[in-house]
Symmetry: C2
Subunit: 206 residues, 2 copies
Amino acid sequence: MKKKDTTQRILDAAEALFAEKGVSNTSLREITSRAGVNLASVNYHFGSKLGLVEAVLKRRLDPLNKERLKRLQAIKREADSTGKAPSVRAIMQAIFEPILIMVDTQAFIRIIARSMTDPDETVKNVFLREIGPVFRLMFSLLMRALPHVPKDVLFWRVQFALGAMGHSLWAIGRVKMVPEGVDASISRDRLLELWLDFCTEGLENP
Amino acid sequence: MKKKDTTQRILDAAEALFAEKGVSNTSLREITSRAGVNLASVNYHFGSKLGLVEAVLKRRLDPLNKERLKRLQAIKREADSTGKAPSVRAIMQAIFEPILIMVDTQAFIRIIARSMTDPDETVKNVFLREIGPVFRLMFSLLMRALPHVPKDVLFWRVQFALGAMGHSLWAIGRVKMVPEGVDASISRDRLLELWLDFCTEGLENP
DNA sequence: GTAATAAACAAACATTTGTTTAAAATGTTT
DNA sequence: AAACATTTTAAACAAATGTTTGTTTATTAC
């Protein structure tokens, strides 16, 4: 049984710690000691902490957004050929579901969720660069699905939907404030279902 | 014209910087130099950086949640006396609108928005402690407004609504990714209106 | 007016941070 | 086996961080 590649071990450790405490609250020494490698190997393999951050994010966001794009393009093809408007629910599902099917660890989920709101400039930039094409295609499809909704209104409704997604993904498993008699535990599939109900309704508002 | 109190100037400078770059990415030296006061005065007046963070948050969250609580209690009284179910829209409005009417600066908005998502433990703890009673009352009122929605489902719908609010407040004025032909600028009142439409619909889902 | 208290100040402190260096160890090729 | 390239290691580096110190200045109380 061969020891895992140093690069991988660093990425795994960094992902877990970034997810838990954020990028700027995680030191290279924490990462390397958790990974069981030498401190200097981060700079050797990734050039700098910044390079590591980018690598951690890209490892997940890249295949995730590829899958999203694939699904959205399928929806677009279908709409083009049949001439019918695409379904709002299907579009939103193409955004959320890939997160679930590509899950390895809980840290992965948090990395995605945190990418959306992290104050760190690096994180935000990588995230925006990666999601750009996905977002544009999603928006154009939603416009076709909801021709009666003004663009500017639709834009903010999409922001609401994405905010809801990010926050709930972040909250899952670590909700602090639960009212009496409520069971806040939830499966990821169920969360997807509830989210789709919620924001399909909100997006299709007349 | 007397110079502003040192404490106030520190709070103002810290709020602006925390809002812009997050707590852990802001040094005391940045804060004090922006405030035009001595470095040591933060520790003198607030004990520690942690104390300053708490003070910055409490200065805003305290009156905000007082106002929210006042409104929610009024809704409860009305429902109690008439025996009719409270309005979902009114409840959600009681959560969002106080943010708008109590606005001084843009930094204030961002402080609120960031409080909801900041990875920093201090921020999160202060935020949760402050919003606890508000959240509980809101939830119990929503249960009366929507008796047909199971508690557990309602809980996550509320998470969606809050996530949408936090994200959009954060995004306002600093949206990075805007599709062609969309005007992403929006007034706060308009945002409130759109948000209420969106999440009222989502919450009332059958 | 003088003593007591509070506030402001410059300087230094001990840590922690990301990064670099140079040597040792390991792996690969000739 | 020797030469070379790659990787790992321990040590040190400079810069930045929150905090503490001793002193000076301003304000308040008697």
